[in-house]
Amino acid sequence: MADGQVAELLLRRLEASDGGLDSAELAAELGMEHQAVVGAVKSLQALGEVIEAELRSTKHWELTAEGEEIAREGSHEARVFRSIPPEGLAQSELMVDSMEDEVQRRLQLVRGGQAEKLGEKERSELRKRKLLAEVTLKTYWVSKGSAFSTSISKQETELSPEMISSGSWRDRPFKPYNFLAHGVLPDSGHLHPLLKVRSQFRQIFLEMGFTEMPTDNFIESSFWNFDALFQPQQHPARDQHDTFFLRDPAEALQLPMDYVQRVKRTHSQGGYGSQGYKYNWKLDEARKNLLRTHTTSASARALYRLAQKKPFTPVKYFSIDRVFRNETLDATHLAEFHQIEGVVADHGLTLGHLMGVLREFFTKLGITQLRFKPAYNPYTEPSMEVFSYHQGLKKWVEVGNSGVFRPEMLLPMGLPENVSVIAWGLSLERPTMIKYGINNIRELVGHKVNLQMVYDSPLCRLDAEPRPPPTQEAA
């Protein structure tokens, strides 16, 4: 019997009934599976207010398969007894005269629906013998609903073009939607979270009027990476342990030799008001090619180009690109990462200006509580590390490094003496890991990335803090 037919039967019985009916009783009366009646109840419930159904659970005792067998054919003992011929064994004659099959009688009672006539102890004994089981039956008490009707029509699932053109939608009932179910995600591509953050940083710099520097040269000479920045040739950063040097091409072919001479002099003898480092500066060391260890090499190139243009015009520069370190790798350090760098060159810039620019920059990142710590960088003086107060960690954490480029770096380039250059830098990975709650950098950068994370990552809105989850008290 189809669902619809059962439902119709149910509705007719319900109309005739006095107040309501029980699903199990109805099933017994109609001689069908209880489950079929339950199905009909559920489909009627889905129609709205046609019926009301209240779930009830009752317990009753049922025979197990073995119990059924015993109720039918007698207990094992009785069967043994009956199988003994009259002439039988002497002992049996002695022990058993006749026997009443008590087990069978009890089981038959249960089968007849009169389990309550048995005592608790008798029932539990039968249960232990696995002849009886207590079964919970879930039934519905069905009564008429506010929109009760015996005639039901099938609900439509979706609106169709035909319904719209014929207007039949006006007369048809529609199956309600389950708004708790999830929708189907659109088929789409996704941008990488780190590069989404990169886009935002580019946007911030552009909003602040900073021009993007070319950084499309991973390979750099030691000259531009270190010497031009007044970083001495014995500096530990120039060690094999920290920097990737190249075997091929091992040496830079072209260096601006006039400028190189000025750099050499500043390192080895001083000049431009400096004592210099007073050591034997070697061109061979400056020619060594490497994978740039910071984008400051690109800034040095940009400032050198700026110095060649006369008269001097003030600039604001930025870059975001890859840098490389031959470092020990761990959960937060890779051999390559992205560096964000900002540079301002103008007459009469002060440390206060640097701090002012940093405040604006970090405000755009949603970081407002800043403080500055004296620090040492080989190519900036004064230098300051930038700290911000981390609400989660309840402490000050370093968010960037900054300073005023040394005259020993700027003057050999040919920049005018009263021009100051302020600069700051930070890594792209760190704020991204904090933003997206990633602990292991390998899950973010490189081929071991978790694509599901890429698929699921939200928009990058650096100045919009994610809303904190509602607390117990607030709920």
Binding site: G189, E212, V315, P382, E408, V449, Q452, V454
Partner: protein
């Protein structure tokens, strides 16, 4: 950044007051130091070797303080205390004096044999010093810190300190064949030749790092006294004979090296720091060094240098308005004794021998700013007016990557460094044909070369995400590096996309190319700078399933179905098609 470990209570005793951890942290921050860790010997050992080993170790509280890499004068408790006390105006900076001895001056004669290996040496004497266990430990520790930092792991300078009372001058600094050098080194019970020592120290966890400095030289540096006693074989080890102890009263210090300036700085630092414990505080006995050319110099230099800086320059550089008198006071707090002179706007600053980091007026400006307090400086915005421009290649990249995602492809971000195998063997190419740049000192094979193609990175990304539902559609727009005869090496901005599914999906990758060309406003067809694809071949592609892409009159890349060998070598199992083009020509 070097980290100096000091006993907290000893530090507070020397500072004449106690601080809470927070207060001391705050003081460090203001001064440009960082209280990195609060620990104890016991805690350190237990962290590194477990609780069992730590039992019985000292639980005296230690402060680990990060010191700026150019402040050699703060690398020991003595220097830290002096710096902070002067900063807080609790003491005046001591004046360091070099004095001549009552008797004969100690002489160190350098022979010409040292020229080829370690040509420079300087020396000084600390007279009537009084060590305690803590002072002695600090003295040893300072030498170690200097060795690790300014001395560049003893390559530039090596320090030897000796009990002068066990020796008799004059001393000779020379270089000899290793087999001709024989002495009992520190912590050994018998004599060894230099050759034997170099062998023994190969397994010494501390000393093995310094052996390379002289290992392959024909002559080794060595210092003798007038009786032929070996003081040291720099930069490896001192002799046992002249070892100093907590009871040593007179110390002969020699610094040998390849960098004369740094040798002088190192000597100045040691004697300024520890002359505090001499009977005549802050005085150092001179020693004479005779160079191979016969000229002799007296050390330590302990040079005080005068610099003139105008007050308005400091104000202008920092962005403050302080009177010259106040600025002089600020600088004096930074161990730079200063006074206003001349027209009332000039500040004369005395740079003491401890502040070798002051090499330019900008270093003085920084110290004035630190003493003023960075966080007291008024923040202002510069009036610099500029119009922003994007770097054209990056601008195009930004536009393209958004539309690549809109076309249903997901962005990957792979490493620029990889193994030779990734860009050559796995793609069926010989490494010599790749024009890749090679790294000379990779720690692992992952960093042998810079990538010449983006494809391996994308295939590795797929391999790491094989559990994800198919199809996988990935792209990356990033730089690759090619050796170049003009500039050495050059970056090229590439766009690569891959389609990985149960079917090769060439039509999908082909469709993506059509879409990209549409986005770049390049029409189909060979005329008018349009684009076409022509049957081609490549070792990475399945035969007959590869085409070369021509656009704007030049070849810009290839697309096709990957060769099953390539798929297998990248540990993939499904068919895959790919596309890689150079973005540069579309600017």
């Amino acid at each position: 950044m070097p980290t100096v470990s000091v006993k907290r209570d000893l530090l507070f005793q020397a500072l004449g007051r106690t601080y809470t951890d927070e207060e001391f942290d705050e003081l460090c921050f203001e001064f440009g130091l960082e209280l990195d860790e609060i620990t104890s010997e016991k805690e350190i050992i237990s962290k590194e070797q477990g609780n069992v080993k730590a039992a019985g170790a000292s639980d005296v509280v230690l402060y680990k303080i990060d010191v700026p890499a150019n402040r050699y004068d703060l690398l020991c408790l003595e220097g830290l205390v002096r710096g902070l006390q002067v900063f807080k105006e609790r003491i005046k900076a001591p004046v360091y004096k070099r004095v001549m001895p009552d008797g004969k001056i100690q002489k160190l004669i350098i022979t010409e044999e040292t020229a080829k290996i370690r040509p420079f040496a300087v020396a000084a004497v600390l007279r009537n010093i009084k060590f305690t266990k803590d002072r002695y430990d600090s003295f040893i520790e300072l030498q170690e810190k200097l060795h690790q930092n300014i001395c560049r792991k003893r390559a530039l300078v090596a320090i030897g300190t000796h009990d002068l009372d066990t020796l008799s001058g004059p001393f000779t600094y020379t270089a000899k064949r290793p087999s001709d050098i024989k002495f009992k080194p520190l912590n050994k019970t018998k004599e060894y030749t230099a050759c034997e020592l170099m062998n023994i120290y190969k397994t010494d966890n501390h000393l093995k790092h310094y052996l390379h400095i002289i290992e392959n030289k024909p002559l080794y540096p060595v210092i003798y006294d007038s009786n032929g006693v070996v003081l040291s074989m720099p930069p490896i080890i001192n002799g046992d004979h002249s070892r100093i102890t907590v009871n040593t009263r007179n110390i002969f210090i020699e610094c040998t090296g390849t960098d004369f300036t740094k040798a002088k700085i190192v000597l100045d630092i040691i004697v300024t720091m520890f002359s505090e414990y001499c009977e005549n505080q802050f005085t150092v006995e001179a020693a004479e060094v005779v160079f191979p050319n016969g000229k002799s110099h007296t050390f330590p230099e302990l040079a005080y240098r005068k610099e003139m800086v105008r007050a308005d320059l400091i104000n202008k550089k920092v962005g403050i308005r302080e009177t010259p008198e106040n600025l002089a006071k600020l600088l004096t707090r930074m161990y730079l004794k200063s006074e206003v002179i001349g027209d009332g706007n000039q500040i004369e600053i005395e740079i003491p021998p401890t502040r070798a980091d002051i090499i330019h007026a900008c270093d003085i400006v920084e110290d004035a700013a630190i003493a003023y307090g960075y966080n007291n400086i008024q923040m202002t915005l510069p009036k610099t007016y500029t119009i922003a421009n994007q770097f054209p290649l990056n601008k195009l990249t930004e536009l393209l990557r958004h539309d690549m995602a809109a076309a249903g492809f997901t962005e990957a971000l792979t490493f620029a460094l990889c193994s030779q195998e990734d860009i050559a063997d796995k793609l069926g190419v010989d490494i010599s044909a790749t024009k890749a740049v090679h790294i000379s000192n990779p720690k692992t094979a992952e960093f042998q070369v810079a990538r010449t193609t983006l494809l391996p990175g994308l295939l590795k990304t797929i391999a790491a995400n094989r559990k994800m539902p198919l199809p996988l559609k990935l792209f990356e727009i990033s730089d690759i590096v090619i050796k170049d005869s003009n500039t050495g090496a050059k970056n090229y901005r590439h766009l690569c996309a891959v389609y990985y599914n149960k079917n090769p999906g060439f039509e999908i990758i082909h469709g993506l190319l059509d879409r990209i060309m549409q986005l770049l406003d390049v029409p189909p067809g060979e005329d008018k700078g349009g684009y076409v694809i022509k049957a081609s071949e490549g070792p990475a592609f399945f035969p007959g399933r590869c085409a070369e892409i021509f656009a704007r009159g030049q070849s810009v890349g290839k697309l096709g179905v990957l060769h099953p060998d390539v798929i297998t070598k990248f540990e993939l199992t499904m068919p895959c098609s790919s596309l890689e083009i150079n973005v540069g020509p579309f600017l």
